[in-house]
Amino acid sequence: MKVLTQAQLKAWLDDLAHNLTLVAPVNVQGKLEYGKVSGSGDVAWDYQRTDMSPKTWLFPATESVLTVRQAQDGTQILEPPEPPPTVLFGVRPCDARGNLAIDALFLNKAPSDSQYARHREATTLIGVACPQMWASCFCTVVGGAPNSTEGLDILLTELQEDKQTLFAAQVLTEKGQKLAANMPGTEREVALPSPKLTAGLPTLRPSAEWQARFNEVYWQRVGDRCLACRACTFVCPACRCFDVRDEVASRQPGVQVFERLRAWDACTSEPYRRIAGGHNPRPTPQSRLRNRFYCKFMYYPQDFGSLGCVGCGRCIDACPVNIDILEVIASVEKMAG
């Protein structure tokens, strides 16, 4: 295992930023999200868990799926550009597991989503382990851990050694190997601190028991206050629903260029299921909110073998009316008896 000082880590990041796209947690007017940085100086180092997840760099909020150019000389369908090689630094273990959840549907279930696959291939994930679980974190409830290495190429763990901050780097994948080729630091074994875990969290019932609870009046009550906005799904590292629409890119005499854009969408919003003519099989906020929880704890595990929730707690913090997914898990546990 390689051990780096903070200075060495920063120097290495500066070096990476020269020839790769380096993305790291940044503070945008008080909100923490993952943004392109020109060096270690722009990184918001003292972050717990960002407000927006790194999903924005693998499954961007808006992306061109293809471009259509129509002119007298015929119609061409053009592929979107290849994403540049990117290093995602400062990824928390829960977010990395979020990518694995999206992989389960976008990559592991045919046909694989080409644009997401290209982003995944072009991106190397450097994780930073969490020293503890914070207020709205519950990764241990959904099979994660503050120091889990799943879905990461390199995991850095911060540790103190006679009042000096060091980072122990575990290189986990072949991609990580390639990136860590010229990583500074000394090669030695060091004991990794174990993160402080939050006790007394509810246990997640298996998906079969969720099926039995589908028609409980509980789902009506928890959804009463839902505003049917899209905040919880947009901050979620595992949500991956999208809308597709053609947008006019440019219209010149004789040449028209359209982009087939794909953008995030949310099952909690009303137009998501509204069909031409106005009929909506899920008309109420309650029925839509229930679908969101069932997708995460029943449909996704059943269809794609991976939970749809990684316990990051972003939806708990982002929800304007405090709809708390951990409270939902506890309620289903109580209902299951």
Binding site: R221, D224, R225, R245, P271, P320, N322, D324
Partner: protein, 287 residues
């Protein structure tokens, strides 16, 4: 006199025992966070709480009870806990024929204004009302009435008006850049109840589905204008925004201009129409 919370609970129990289908108030969640609560039985009224963090506009939920519960029945009667700024939304919706006043029982909570130590809220600093403009039951705290009503002279808006247009554009583009187009502001606003919002309309397709700067600028400026003279300055949009974008500044700029041009305060009188929904033939405005 009992505490504000107890008065709210008593009023709620009273309404629930006299044919009111649901009381919308606030409860405290297990994490200590305050959130909207829907009380259907009198036995549940003790869930209702009150405090300065109750910053959403509960009148927004009245839209869910506009339709009858069962075919052939009249729409249900509901009660809603309102502060002075929320109560103005009742008058707005009554004027716009969205609700019938007798179907909505308002439990009006007299406001003691922005007390120090509260989460400083733009709306409270400049709020000129202490007693809700309309209520069916009035709830008041004992002791002195708190800070006197402030006179809103829009100092922060005037300050921004002195910037150059480019500075203002850069300011708003920087703020809107953070927006994730989740529509929490629109969904929390009692004045926003269109069946299909222009921002999501497919036919005609006014703006693209992209979560990008041009679309977000379009959405916020357009929504602010569609609330011109209709916004009741409850700041629920700012309270709901997960990215803390100062949306109330857009609404307060329009409120300032509406007051200057038409001397109109939204929600004070259900009979008086919001200025952009009516006209005056003799009027000649500076274009």
């Amino acid at each position: 006199m009992s505490s504000v919370e107890q008065q709210i609970r008593d009023a709620a129990r009273q309404y629930l025992e006299n044919g009111v289908y649901c009381v919308t108030g606030y409860e405290r969640g297990p994490r200590g966070k305050v959130r909207p609560a829907f009380i259907y039985q009198a036995s549940d009224v003790d869930r209702l709480v009150w405090g300065p963090e109750c910053d959403l506009n509960l009148v927004n939920y009245v839209h869910q009870f506009k339709q009858p519960l069962r075919r052939g029945e009249p729409p249900p009667k509901v009660a809603v806990v309102v502060r002075p700024c929320d109560a103005r939304a009742i008058n707005l919706l009554v004027h716009e024929q969205q609700i019938k006043r007798e179907n909505v029982k308002a439990i009006g909570v007299a406001c003691t204004g922005a007390t120090p130590g509260d989460p400083e809220r733009q709306a409270c600093q400049v709020c000129h009302e202490r007693v809700p403009v309309t209520y069916d039951t009035l709830v008041q705290a004992e002791g002195e009435a708190g800070a006197p009503p402030a006179q809103d002279n829009y100092t922060d808006i005037v300050d921004m008006e002195n910037w150059t247009p480019r500075q203002r554009l850069d300011y708003w583009l920087k703020e809107f850049d953070r927006c994730i187009r989740c529509y929490a502001c629109r969904q929390a606003c009692p004045g926003c109840y269109c069946f299909e919002c222009v921002a999501e309309q497919v036919d005609p397709h006014w703006t693209s589905i992209a979560l990008e700067l041009p679309e977000k600028y379009f959405f916020h400026v357009m929504r602010a204008f569609h609330l011109a003279g209709r916004c009741v300055a409850c700041d629920a949009c700012e309270a709901a925004c997960p990215m803390d974008i100062p949306l109330s500044q857009l609404n307060r700029k329009l409120a300032k201009e509406v007051e200057a041009l038409f001397g109109y305060h939204t929600g004070e009188d259900p009979e008086k129409a919001p200025p952009l929904t009516t006209f005056n033939p003799a009027e000649r405005l500076p274009l």
